[in-house]
Amino acid sequence: MGGSFPRGKCAIAGLATFGVGEAPGFTSMELTARAASLAVEEAGLRIDAIDALFICQPDDFFAGLSFAEYLGLSPRFTDNNRTGGSAFMSHMITAIMMLEAGYIDTALIAYGSNQRTNGGKLATSIKTNAWDAPYKPLFPLSSYALAAARHMHEFGTTREQLAEVAVAARQWANTNPEAFAKGPLSIEDCLASRIISSPISVRDCCLVTDGAAAIVLTRTDRARDMPKTPVPVLGAAAATWWNSIAQATDMTTTAAAESGPRAYNAACVGPSDIQSVQLYDAFTINTILFLEDLGFCPKGEGGRFVSGGTIAPGGSLPVNTNGGGLSYCHPGMYGLFAIIEAARQIRGEAANQQGTVDVALAHGNGGTLSSQATVILGSTATL
């Protein structure tokens, strides 16, 4: 498999979300810094204890520098990698390696966007590459539509099965006070919604919201002396197979089929050990692809797997228990919110708490199914 990982050596010591849904009047950096402040406070630290910053803002290519300046820090390391919404899982890997090596002591990973109240559209300066652009695919939506169309062609996946994913997410959101999109949503509602880029309709798409999130990472032995019970990181892995979906030789299998097994290997667990699954659901097809690629069902069976409420409240596999990007929040990049819901489940603090959770998975997706990164969190009992 390659690549060693310091299983459980580093842990989430603080976490916070802020401004989820709508936060009128805030800049993206204000939202991010507020979440950061709350996460640092929860860890029992002052902001000047942070010596490494990891960030990826929607509208600022120098976000690491801006964030350092805003917080008044001169960190040993800043990172604003651009793998898309999976960036925060990748940040965790870099931070953990640096913590374990003793290069840094306390890492802050943060994100925030005001894209809903400041325009109401996905805020991105990322463009389709020069080879694809003349054909005007909607970025990034048409790429996911191409994957969904191929999945339907190869495996008989249906729009009803895609709708099951959206309905399950809404059911989780309905009992999460922090979730943005609430109210009844039926399979029929989804099927009747407008097609944007076939087979993807409005209800197959994630939300456009505001929101910010932050986590503090440090070595687990140090985190044990902090106010909150540490959430150790058991394993993590990132994989990149393409940038443009046009270069996918198998469009129905993503690099999650690589990041997942490598993360499981690092964590010494398998899919059957995962008690809480958080998947980056930018579109309904994502959940189906990642359930397959991460080993929760065989390739091609994802559509049938989610049918009948399997991943909804009361189903056999709790997936996206916060409501996901489809109904909880999606401020342009969702990765950090998936990590935080997984950590809240381990802590026993989630709005839709699933009993005692000792092992949870958070999976991030970036670009057009391009970058995949998987993080496995555990309770201190798993060390």
Binding site: Y135, S142, S198, I200, T249
Partner: protein, 126 residues
């Protein structure tokens, strides 16, 4: 490609403007790839040659993008060429009812509004 300067991308575009659809082949492995590069992806081999594409391939996947009525939807397709390379394009002269995944298509070179050449496809057999 005598007389053409610039990197592989510029050479490819110059050929397209000349009415030729080229692909690169790695001499050693025989692998044909797209988009054009200065090396074979995965091996780094720089011993490359240009070949003229047959232009034939199949629709690997496709989506129809809705537009504000009365503008009709347009398609975005990923074409798997017979040579093995894959690219994004648009298929002309088809409707959502007639175009399907797996269908054979043939390349054609058209001119965009700005005068630039563009690689498009049409159902094979036309």
């Amino acid at each position: 490609m005598d007389g053409v300067t610039g990197g592989p991308e510029a050479q490819w575009r110059a050929a397209l403007a000349d009415g030729k659809f080229l692909l690169q082949r790695a001499v050693s492995s025989g692998t044909v790839f797209f988009p054009p590069r200065v090396m074979e992806p995965g091996t780094g081999d720089t011993d490359l040659e240009w070949i003229e594409a047959t232009g034939l391939g199949i629709i690997y996947s496709l989506t129809w993008v809705s537009q504000k009525p009365p503008a009709p939807p347009y398609n975005v397709a990923v074409v798997r060429l017979d040579e093995g390379a894959q690219l994004m394009s648009r298929v002309e002269g088809v409707t959502p009812e007639t175009l399907r995944i797996g269908q054979r298509v043939r390349a054609k070179i058209a001119t965009q509004d700005d005068g630039a050449a563009i690689l498009l496809f049409e159902p094979a057999g036309h």
